[in-house]
């Protein structure tokens, strides 16, 4: 089965989505991330979507749900790298990424997670 790689850096988990995601792959990522948060005792999750051309309602829901599940497992989620056209389209679509923290890029996202951890 196809998986999106999850990297561990200290107590953070990093994911860079670099493929045009279909729904099943998005669900697999959600499951993998929640499993890894517990297994790796992660305190933060960083999801980089700078390579994603679109975020539709399904991918948006996956991100939102992942952040909610992570929160219950005592981990913070930061979404980084959203392209301006994707942000505009998300708002026009009527989607709010409820409870998801965002940062402009990976560097800012990591410093946000590390600041939260201390």
């Amino acid at each position: 089965m196809e998986h999106i790689p999850i990297l561990k850096m200290g107590n953070l988990l990093l994911v860079t989505i670099q493929v045009d995601m279909h729904d099943r792959l998005a669900m697999t990522l959600q499951d993998d991330l929640t499993t890894r948060i517990v297994k790796d005792h992660a305190s933060g999750v960083l999801i980089d979507i700078s390579a994603l051309d679109i975020v539709d309602s399904f991918i948006g829901r996956m991100i939102s749900n992942t952040a909610a599940m992570a929160r219950i497992l005592d981990a913070r989620t930061v979404l980084v790298g959203m392209q301006p056209a994707v942000a505009i389209t998300l708002v026009e679509l009527g989607l709010t990424l409820h409870g998801v923290q965002t940062a402009l890029n990976v560097e800012k996202g990591i410093s946000l997670l590390q600041r939260n951890a201390t």
């Binding site: 051309d53 539709d56 309602s57 056209a85 389209t89």
Partner: protein
């Protein structure tokens, strides 16, 4: 909608992978037609929502992707056709937040906002056809 179809591609929508293929097809056509990145993003997102509806609610179907021409204007038109159960109350289905499938309820209404033109034909037992188009501004 009055326009000339330049050519039509028929894509089967039977699996998650087909939805990804459709998005790629729409992207290629819009790039070739010279649409801006924002307009591409809007239309591909709308296409993704409608293709998912065809798959999840319509039990699969097909998508028609067309280049459009009217006078000096260029556009792209998409049609999503299924023979599924159909929609009894179209106004309700177009309400933000309304869903029968556990989704976010923004698919149909969001696609309507993202497209320039939107048309839906559906009746219980008659399947559903949704058409959207986007015109290039000069």
């Amino acid at each position: 909608m009055s326009y000339t179809d330049v050519d039509t591609q028929h894509l089967s929508i039977r699996s998650d992978e087909d939805v990804v293929r459709l998005r790629q097809c729409v992207r290629e056509l819009m790039i070739a037609a010279g649409f801006s990145l924002l307009e591409q993003t809007r239309m591909i997102t709308a296409a993704s929502e409608l293709a998912r509806n065809t798959l999840r609610y319509g039990g699969g179907g097909e998508a028609h992707v067309r280049r459009l021409l009217t006078g000096s204007r260029k556009g792209i038109g998409l049609a999503f056709i299924d023979q599924g159960p159909g929609i009894a109350d179209i106004d309700l289905a177009l309400t933000d937040g309304y869903t029968t499938g556990g989704g976010m309820g923004v698919g149909l209404s969001g696609a309507k906002r993202l497209a320039d033109e939107f048309d839906i034909e559906s009746a219980p037992g008659q399947g559903t056809t949704v058409q959207i188009s986007k015109w290039k501004s000069f």
